[in-house]
Every structure is written in structure tokens, then in C-alpha cells.
């Protein structure tokens, strides 16, 4: 596996690893790693560094919905232009083009159910090319990006063993 891919895998798993640590883990120079990361950031292979938050542990009681959207594709641009119209809204967390029974999955966040409902009825559904929407509200997160919520990560091993 090339060094670029290794760095990406390590950072995808833990974005807080420093170039110095990664260099030690890959047995190479810190500068080599820092340069590669900088290049990956410039060419937008690395798009950002984020934190996985379990909001249930906070006072915020927001809601997230997964909305199935059927749209009519447009000549030449297919689904891209309507997807863009949708993903520009700040309420929209993610948009995916899907195969199967509907076209776009739109993940929407809001402070309340009312917020999300308002977004769907006033912003999303009225869009020209949107034929129909089905909203599913997320009730509980169990796992996100390989991280299991609320898992007890305590080391259960004996502290010293042969």
C-alpha cells in the first residue's frame, strides 16, 4: 500500500494524529508526512477534519431526518443540478444519489421536528424537479462512521500478564 493511502487511512480513523506520530508509525520523516498531508488538502482529497459527537449526551435535542426524494432528471446535467439546489441549503447535512426506488437521499438536521417539517414542505418539496418525498426521522444512533455510540471502551484485560 502506498504511503498516501496509509496516511489517509490513519487520519480517517483518527484525525488528531500529528504528522510526527504518523511519521513514527510509518517509519519515515515528519516533513515527508506533513508535505503529503498538505498536498492532499490542496487537491481536496482531504476535505476537512471533524469530530463525531454524541449529541444525546448534551442538552441539545435536535432531530435528524433521512428523506427519500424522487426527482426528474434534467437533460445534460442529469440529477446534478437538482442535487445542487438541495445541498446548498444549510439544513442539509448530506446528499447521496441512489440506485433503486428513489433518487436522492437527503439527510436534514433541525432543532425540532417542526423545523424539519417546515424545510421539507416549504423548501424541498416545492422545488421544480422534485416529484415526491418520504421523510424518516432518526430515533437513535447506534453506530456512525465505524464508531459505536455508548460502547464501553474500557480495557478489560488484566493490567499485567505473561
Amino acid at each position: 500500500m502506498d504511503i498516501e493511502r496509509r496516511i489517509l487511512e490513519l487520519l480517517e480513523n483518527d484525525a488528531r494524529l500529528s504528522a510526527k506520530t504518523i511519521a513514527a508509525m510509518l517509519d519515515t520523516d515528519e516533513k515527508v508526512v506533513a508535505d503529503i498531508i498538505a498536498q492532499l488538502e490542496r487537491d481536496k482529497t482531504i476535505l476537512g477534519y471533524r469530530t463525531v459527537v454524541n449529541w444525546e449526551n448534551t442538552e441539545w435535542e435536535g432531530v435528524t431526518a433521512m428523506i427519500e426524494v424522487k426527482v426528474s432528471p434534467e437533460r445534460e446535467v442529469g440529477f446534478n443540478s437538482v442535487a445542487e439546489r438541495i445541498y446548498r441549503f444549510p439544513e442539509v447535512r448530506s446528499v447521496y444519489l441512489m440506485s433503486g426506488g428513489f433518487d436522492l437521499t437527503v439527510i436534514v438536521e433541525g432543532n425540532s421536528l417542526k423545523d424539519v417539517a417546515h424545510f421539507v414542505t416549504h423548501k424541498l418539496s416545492p422545488l421544480d424537479k422534485v416529484q415526491s418525498t418520504v421523510s424518516h426521522f432518526i430515533l437513535k444512533r447506534y453506530k456512525e462512521d465505524h464508531i459505536i455510540f455508548g460502547e464501553n471502551e474500557e480495557d478489560k484485560r488484566l493490567v499485567v500478564s505473561p
Binding site: A24, L26, R157, V159, V160, S161, P162
Partner: protein, 391 residues
């Protein structure tokens, strides 16, 4: 209560308590310790293996198996060893499924050793070989290995310790605690001596899959060694299955039959749920296992580079998940170093002497720990080393 000591057999009374035990008690009494003293993977057994065990329980697999182990498991083991070390074992009579490699070693020694027979044990090594020999009424003979040879057993050392009573040589590579491996040419150099003196080799290959940037070579694959080698392996390290207690021995049918005799009267069979899980591990566990090995490799380099940087010189371990740095720059012996490091910095390592006298001047640091903990431990060890540097 009055003492019952006089009822305890002399052989058991004279066994020294493990040096690890003492250290375990010390560490357990200390709060907030970062432990590099663990001798097992920091991964939990991959879910598909645990799930296969649950399914077998649901399906009612709760009974004894054949003494030798489930035929499907022995078949998988035969295929695995063929792939891994290129040696053929018949699932019918050359493979015995045991309760970990620990049991395999015990019953192999009891099958081979007559009172007074000598068993050669390269040190530093895992703690149970010498007691196993004593419990078989044999005489353990340590063979010292040193950092300047990357802890590989030297033919001169082997030859020098052979007497007319020598019967068995134990080889444990990749090695706990040093991380040493034996490459083909190293094993080749021992081969003639072993054959000349008609020795049996017990080859504990539990860390075989944890070989980095090189393929594990088993001495059983060398000319003339197949019949006189008992290969032992298991699932604890490669598949993160320490608590399942499942391993196996492969070898000449006469030796395996003798071991099976003891096994059938003392153990009957390895637990069926662990055997079912082991089948799943061998059939579908390779991808997850490779991922774990790649992950150890990152941390191996992190710790090896880190230790050398803070002035605890260390040869590059090429197997297992341990670094075995020298601590002589501090002027302390390994026990003092480990105790002081625990008290002053709350970092637990294991003194090298717990693994034999030639481990003096060294400590075992396990890198089956999180990157965060490895870095924090290295930082604490650095201040400790600076504070205690000799002269």
C-alpha cells in the same frame, strides 16, 4: 488455620512463583496506570467469530467432541498449516486440538520427558516452559540469547549446552518477550546439531502471524525436521482469542497419539464453543487478522522509534507485539527500573528478568495499546530516563 504445606508435593513447593505475578499485584494496587505490561492483543475477538460461537450455542452445540477435536477444525488446521508453513499434517492422526498452546506444551513435555531428562529453553522466554519441564520431572536448561544477536538462538550456545541427557529443545519464535524471530538461515544453522543429537523440537509458533515484513518460517519445514518437530499454534494472538483457550499441536503421529492419551484423561476435549469459533476464524478470519497485524505494525514502529529516541536503545522487533529495550543507561537493574517507573510515572512495564536471567538490563513493553497511551507512556518514560540518567 494450621499449615497444610507438608501435604503439598515437593515438586510444586519448589516451583518459584512467577515474577509476573508479583508485578501484577503491584500494578493492581496503583490507580491510573498506563499499562504496557499486558501480554495479549488489545482487540476484542472479531465479531464474526463471536457471532459464530453464539450461533453454535443456539444450535445446541454444547457437548463433548472427539478427544482430538472436531474433524472439521482439524481439517481447517491442516489446510492452514499447509498454507502458512508449507507442511502437511493428516487431520486423522497428526493434529490435536488443545486448551491453548499452554496445554499442548504441558502434555508434550509429559509425553517426552523422563525424570532427569534435560530440556533446552532459549531465554528470555515465556514464563511457563521451565515450570512445565519441572512438573514433568525434567531438568530445564536455559540457553542465553542476547541483544547483539537480536535474541536469535546461536548454534554455539545450543551445542555447548547439549549433554547425553538432552532430549528436547523448545523454540518460541516470534518471541515473547523480545519480539525476536528466527529466519530460515538461523534455523538452518541449528538443524544439523538437532539431528546429530537426536533432539525433539517443541516449536511454539503462537505469534507466527505477527511477523512484520517477513514470512514466518517453521523449523518443521526444514529437511529432516518434520518428524522431530511438534508445531504448536493457536488462535489467541492472530485472532485476538486469548480468553477462548484454544490451540493445537501438529506432529508425528506417535507423539501426537501419546499427547492425546494424556489429553483424553485430563482434559477430554477442548470446549466445543471455542472449537466452533476457531473454525470460523480459520475459514473467514484472514481479512480481519491482516488488519490487526497492520495495526500492530504501525504501533510497533511508533514504540520502537520512540524508545530509541528517549535513549532506551532497542533492536527492531520483527515479531509478536513487544519491544525489549535496554535500560542500562539508567544504571538500574530491570526490576528496580520497572518498580520505580510504576511508582514515579505510573507506567507499567515488565522487568526482563521475569523471562529469564538473560533478560536482565531490559524491560518488556507491549505495544498492543492505543496510540494515545503509547505516546503518553513514552513521554513519561522520557522524563523518568532523563531524571535517572547515570553519571
Amino acid at each position: 488455620m494450621s499449615s497444610m504445606q507438608h501435604h503439598i508435593a515437593d515438586t510444586v513447593q519448589s516451583l518459584k512463583p512467577s515474577g509476573i505475578r508479583k508485578f501484577f499485584d503491584l500494578v493492581s494496587q496503583t490507580e491510573g496506570v498506563i499499562s504496557l505490561g499486558v501480554g495479549e492483543p488489545d482487540f476484542v475477538t472479531p465479531w464474526h467469530i463471536r457471532e459464530a460461537c453464539l450461533y453454535s450455542l443456539e444450535s445446541g452445540y454444547t457437548m463433548y467432541t472427539s478427544n482430538w477435536g472436531l474433524p472439521e477444525l482439524r481439517e481447517e488446521i491442516a489446510q492452514y498449516e499447509k498454507r502458512a508453513i508449507g507442511v502437511d499434517y493428516s487431520p486423522q492422526n497428526q493434529i490435536l486440538v488443545t486448551v491453548g498452546v499452554s496445554e499442548a506444551i504441558d502434555i508434550a513435555l509429559r509425553s517426552l520427558v523422563e525424570p532427569g531428562d534435560e530440556v533446552l529453553i532459549p531465554e528470555p522466554c515465556y514464563v511457563s516452559y521451565a515450570p512445565g519441564v519441572l512438573l514433568a520431572y525434567g531438568t530445564p536448561v536455559p540457553l542465553a540469547c542476547y541483544a547483539q544477536h537480536q535474541y536469535r538462538l546461536q548454534p554455539e550456545e545450543l551445542e555447548a549446552k547439549i549433554t547425553p541427557r538432552t532430549k528436547v529443545l523448545i523454540l518460541a519464535y516470534p518471541n515473547n518477550p523480545t519480539g525476536a524471530i528466527m529466519e530460515k538461515q538461523d534455523l538452518e544453522a541449528l538443524r544439523e546439531i538437532i539431528i546429530k543429537h537426536d533432539l525433539i523440537v517443541i516449536s511454539d509458533e503462537i505469534y507466527a502471524e505477527l511477523s512484520y515484513h517477513t514470512r514466518h518460517v517453521s523449523i518443521a519445514a526444514l529437511p529432516g525436521m518434520y518428524e522431530r518437530t511438534i508445531v504448536m499454534n493457536g488462535f489467541s494472538k492472530a485472532f485476538a482469542m486469548t480468553g477462548w483457550r484454544i490451540g493445537y499441536a501438529c506432529g508425528h503421529q506417535d507423539i501426537i497419539a501419546a499427547m492425546t492419551k494424556i489429553h483424553q484423561y485430563t482434559i477430554m476435549c477442548a470446549p466445543i464453543m471455542a472449537q466452533k469459533a476457531a473454525i470460523e476464524a480459520l475459514r473467514h478470519g484472514e481479512t480481519e487478522m491482516r488488519k490487526m497485524v497492520a495495526d500492530y505494525d504501525y504501533r510497533r514502529k511508533l514504540m520502537f522509534n520512540g524508545l530509541n529516541e528517549i535513549g532506551l536503545s532497542c533492536f527492531e522487533p520483527q515479531g509478536a507485539f513487544y519491544c525489549f529495550p535496554s535500560i542500562t543507561s539508567t544504571g538500574m537493574n530491570s526490576e528496580d527500573f520497572s518498580e520505580k517507573l510504576l511508582f514515579e510515572e505510573k507506567v507499567a512495564v515488565v522487568p526482563g528478568t521475569a523471562f529469564g536471567e538473560s533478560g536482565e538490563g531490559h524491560i518488556r513493553c507491549c505495544y498492543a495499546a492505543s496510540v494515545k497511551n503509547i505516546e503518553a507512556a513514552l513521554q513519561k518514560m522520557q522524563s523518568f530516563v532523563i531524571r535517572h540518567r547515570k553519571g
